[in-house]
């Protein structure tokens, strides 16, 4: 079938109008010929014979009358062994194999190494009945078992005709031949393609999340845990430590695969990942972090339209690994930049705007995207998960803006970064009162925590949160009435909340020990802190109260900086117990 072609009739920045001579589809990919370059673009609106397309490159020099060829498919990425430890742009071009220091318009590179040999082991046998996403074989990608699957795009049931014997092959080798219901043979290689804007649904079911995903960050794991296969978002004004928190989660998150989408953010932050990650060791496996990480990088100065593509590309890669029964973590920084890219296009198309000039369907787009995360039961009964955490950069630090509000409806965990806490250097600056995790209300998660942490853990968390809340109220009273104007109990209440704040909520992301706090250690510390808060204290004056708690906080913080149950940890613990004997009962 001949491809549809068209000619350029209008240009406003990266929105181009094309008069077409045949059928075109929404979201269809096309290429504009500009001299010796071809510029990739996507159809976003069709009106009669006119298609409006967003161009993923600069449109400088484009003229009315330039030729456009439509590809008859949507934006697709290539899935196969070698995705991990790669660095891609939003359209899955390999940035590491591009020549020259500057990005060249119209340069597209292959996302996978076609020559590299992979050690293949067959899983399926001739005669097996298979459907999309069933495992045919396996290669080792780093230390991860990378399953070679029946391509997601295959409909219905197939019979395995042949499977390649164990051996070393490149990704383009036909590793199996399947026979479809009509008796046609279809070859399968180690790679497949999938349109990024379509969710991969080749699994049996998507149950509610069952367990939490540890991040080693106390204010997340204990106070507002995120479920494996859950969703969360981190809104915060600039300078509140969003990036530091996200990097901490990326380094420590208990996941097999991490995909980081740097969407419209600073290039130097991505450089930091390139520079640091290859040096860092995954605390769970002892392997290099980069081996389990894929970076999708569309920084703020790269073409705006590809920003939107970058988050979908990242999600599709996660869904691919989920189908292998792996636990994936997707971090996107920041979804506001993606929303702004949508706003720029909507504006150029002269659509009627919603709030703050964002497109009216912003909320629907965001919630559709968040819905692609989740834990799934695969066809073979195994499970896999995609956990998604996005950051949001609210304009002016005001959380009452469309992107934050739309995301709040879609995400189940909310980690509100607070300017005030950041100013006081109380990091991570997650507001302990406003932040929430809906998963704490899930009976499945409660049962999981009862079993794996301790019985009644969720109640303990509620109790700790309440101490912090009451401390804030006491602090307000003290500020209004003065130190001498309130009863001593207000000071004690206030300092108990400071105790939890300084010793539990605050955590030094740059300290080798404190930065990663496993859940059993979190439980140990919280039990101690709640024990202290249960006590009654007696002080002659508020200065003494402040001094006593300040000393205690200092001692417990030293514990946080010491290896769990090491000699110095135990000696600080002894010091703490002595302090408690001297006052309180």
């Amino acid at each position: 079938m001949a491809k549809t072609t068209g000619i350029v009739t209008g240009i406003v920045s990266n929105l181009v109008t094309v008069r077409v001579d045949g059928p075109v589809a929404e979201n269809e990919i096309c290429y504009i010929t500009l001299g010796s370059d071809s510029l990739m673009a996507e159809v976003i609106k069709v009106n009669g014979k006119n298609a409006q397309i967003q161009v993923f490159e600069s449109t400088r020099g484009l003229r009315g009358g330039d030729k456009v060829t439509f590809e008859g498919k949507m934006l697709e990425i290539t899935l196969g062994p070698g995705l991990l430890s790669s660095v891609y742009d939003g359209l899955q071009n390999d940035l590491t194999t591009m020549e020259g220091v500057f990005l060249r318009r119209g340069e597209y590179t292959d996302p996978l190494n076609r020559e590299k040999l992979w050690d293949f082991t067959p899983i399926a046998k001739p005669g097996d009945k298979v459907t999309a996403a069933d495992w045919l074989g396996e290669v080792k990608e780093g230390w991860l078992p990378h399953k070679i699957m029946v391509p997601f795009s295959f409909n219905g049931e197939y019979t395995v005709k042949t499977v390649k014997e164990a051996g070393s092959y490149n990704v383009d080798t036909v590793i199996a031949v399947l026979t479809d219901a009509q008796g046609e043979d279809v070859p399968v290689t180690m790679t497949q393609k999938w349109p990024v804007k379509v969710a991969v649904k080749a699994y049996r079911e998507k149950p509610r999340p069952q367990k939490i995903m540890e991040t080693g960050v106390r204010v997340i794991d204990s106070f507002n845990p995120i479920a494996e296969g859950g969703t969360g978002f981190i809104p915060g004004p600039f300078g509140c430590g969003k990036t530091v928190l996200q990097h901490a989660i990326a380094k420590q998150g208990e996941a097999d695969v991490i995909v980081m989408a740097a969407c419209g953010e600073r290039a130097n932050e991505v450089v930091e990942i390139f520079t640091e990650f290859p040096e860092l060791i995954d605390p769970h496996t002892g392997r290099h972090l980069m081996e389990r990480t894929t970076i999708i990088c569309n920084t703020s100065n790269m073409p705006v339209a590809a920003r939107e593509a970058s988050v979908y590309t990242a999600m599709t890669i996660c869904e691919y690994y989920r189908a292998m029964g792996l636990r994936c973590l997707l971090l996107a920084d920041s979804t506001s930049r993606w929303a702004q890219a949508l706003r720029e296009m909507s504006n150029r198309m002269e659509e009627l705007p919603g709030a703050d000039a964002f497109p009216v369907d912003l909320s629907a787009i965001i919630s559709n995207f968040y819905a692609r995360a989740g834990m799934v039961v695969l066809n073979n009964g195994q499970t896999g998960a995609v956990t998604f955490i996005g950051t949001v950069s609210p304009a002016g630090g005001n959380l009452k803006e469309p992107v934050t509000e739309s995301t709040k409806k879609a995400a189940r965990c909310f980690y509100a970064l607070e300017q005030n806490r950041a100013d006081q250097k109380r990091y991570p600056a997650v507001n302990p009162i406003d932040s929430y995790s809906k998963y704490l209300e899930y009976p499945e998660i409660k049962a999981f925590l009862d079993e794996t942490v301790e019985k009644g853990w969720v109640d303990n968390i509620a109790k700790a949160k309440n101490i912090v809340r009451r401390g804030r109220e006491a602090a307000d009273q003290i500020n209004i009435l003065g130190d001498d104007g309130v009863p001593m109990s207000y000071h004690v209440t206030f300092w108990k909340s400071e105790l939890i704040d300084f010793c539990f909520l605050q955590q030094d992301a740059f300290d080798p020990v404190d930065s990663l706090c496993p859940i059993e250690r979190q439980k140990f510390m919280l039990d101690i802190l709640l024990g202290i808060c249960d006590r009654d204290f007696d002080f002659p004056d508020f200065e003494k109260c402040r001094e006593y708690f300040k000393n205690m906080i200092n001692t417990i913080r030293q514990m946080n900086y010491s290896e769990f149950h090491s000699d110095s940890f135990e000696s600080y613990l002894a010091e703490l117990n002595k302090m408690l004997e001297e006052n309180g009962n």
């Binding site: 130097n268 790269m302 706003r343």
Partner: protein
């Protein structure tokens, strides 16, 4: 401008607004330049046969039968060593009476650096100003603006910083500079005897606002030439980016675009990021560092311009008049250099970051004491000491008229700690206290 054979000439305008003209034309390229009635203009929209041009110097007096000549290329700058020491207007034409520059003609607003090919910034840029070097250390390849109210002496501070920085080239992009400020820059560069390493692109308040839109791209095209082709360390000064953003909003308004927050165009973030992200440390050793000015309205950083800027840049330097010391200081609370930890204690003395943190924390305690005082509560002895410390700290370290070496800044801080506080009140690690404490 001489007419060449391939140029297309039109003489019929369809529409005129204050900033744009539209006409029927064919074969016109996006971003292409044209001369409309003798004025430079650029293609911003093509819709069927109708081409819309943004006229940089405004459309006053342009008749519907004006002559329009398309030039066949986007704006360019001729780059070579001859740029050094020269002053140009927004189009890259000399305004210092000297000859036109000969060199390779390059399109401005060129492609971005492949993020994978960047290097992590790692070279300290000392400025002599303790509010910067001590608390918000600058690193080559960084991008950072001054946030300042219009009455703050930001241009003077920026000129000081530029002239003290150890760089190969300084490129000034002046947008909406008052004539007085333009002459100020010119005189301070001349007086410092540094003219040969300075290149200036200047649009003054006397010139049309839309012309300003060319200034950052001109300045950064020159910067990329020296950084990427010549492997030099280049410092780019952009003042005032708020006026640049205002010009963006004028154009988007004339093109009937729907404004977003604070009547700024919806693409403000991308427009600003395209400029600031030109700051880079290249693998070859060359670098571009950008120091900009974003003027605020009464310290309001939630306005769309400083807000978007803050999300793009690697920190900000906040200028504020300090009542206690009577000086303009770099506010230690609202200022931030995101890259400072890349050089502190690595290219500076080991005690740098601890001294910085202690100094700021004690200054914060002084602010609390001040609030207590204002609310009529009694002050403790510690509060009194904090207040006395804060005044001296602001005068001797935070003030922008300080010009000392980083070692001296650290020694001064230790001197103040010893004068007003006990060792434990500073909260500094014991090992450092033993080594540096001044009784």
């Amino acid at each position: 401008m001489a007419t060449k054979a391939y140029q297309k000439i039109y003489t019929q305008l369809e529409a005129i607004t204050k900033a744009t003209v539209s006409l029927k034309a064919s074969g016109v390229a996006n971003d292409e330049l044209a001369v409309v009635h003798g004025r430079l203009a650029q293609v911003v929209r093509i819709k069927g046969e109708v081409v819309t041009l943004q006229v940089f110097s405004g459309t006053e007096g342009i008749p519907t039968d004006a002559e329009i000549i398309f030039l066949g290329a986007p704006p360019t700058l001729k780059v070579s060593e001859q740029l050094s020491g020269r002053f140009f207007d927004a189009y890259g034409h000399p305004i210092d009476g000297g000859p036109e520059v000969e060199g390779e003609e390059r399109q401005i607003g060129g492609p971005s650096v492949n993020p994978y090919k960047r290097r992590q910034p790692s070279q300290l840029i000392p400025t002599g100003i303790a509010g910067i070097d001590l608390n918000n250390t600058l690193v080559s390849g960084q991008k950072i603006p001054f946030f300042a109210d219009p009455d703050q002496p930001y241009n003077q501070v920026m000129a000081d910083v530029a002239l003290r920085a150890d760089v190969d080239k300084i490129i000034l992009g002046g947008m909406g500079l008052s004539n007085d400020d333009y002459l100020f820059f010119r005189h301070s560069f001349e007086a410092a005897g540094a003219l040969d390493k300075i290149i200036s692109f200047v649009n003054t308040t006397e010139e049309p606002p839309v012309e300003r839109l060319l200034i950052p791209d001109m300045a950064l095209t020159a910067a990329e030439y020296f950084a990427a082709d010549k492997n030099e360390k280049v410092l780019v000064l952009l003042t005032d980016m708020t006026l640049y953003a205002d010009a963006l909003s004028i154009v988007s308004n004339r093109m009937d675009q729907i404004p977003s927050k604070d009547s700024m165009p919806g693409s403000l973030y991308s427009d600003l990021a395209k400029i600031y992200e030109k700051a880079v440390q290249l693998p070859s050793g060359g670098s571009i560092t950008i120091i900009a000015v974003t003027t605020l309205n009464d310290g309001d950083i939630t306005h769309a311009i400083p807000d978007n800027t803050g999300y793009i840049t690697e920190g900000q330097l906040f200028l504020r008049a300090d009542a206690d010391s009577g000086k303009v200081i770099i506010d230690p609370f609202r200022s931030l250099s995101r890259l400072k930890q890349l050089v502190q204690g690595k290219q500076t003395r080991e005690d740098h970051s601890q001294v910085m943190n202690a100094g700021v924390r004690l200054y914060a305690d002084a602010q609390n004491a001040k609030t207590k005082l204002e609310n009529g509560f009694d002050l403790s002895d510690y509060d009194h000491r904090c207040l006395a410390y804060a005044k001296e700290y602001a005068t001797r370290l935070l003030s922008i008229d300080v010009n000392i070496k980083i070692e001296q800044m650290l020694d001064t801080a230790w001197e103040l700690f010893g004068k007003y506080f006990s060792k434990s009140e500073t909260g500094i690690k014991n090992a450092l206290i033993e080594k540096y404490w001044k009784a």
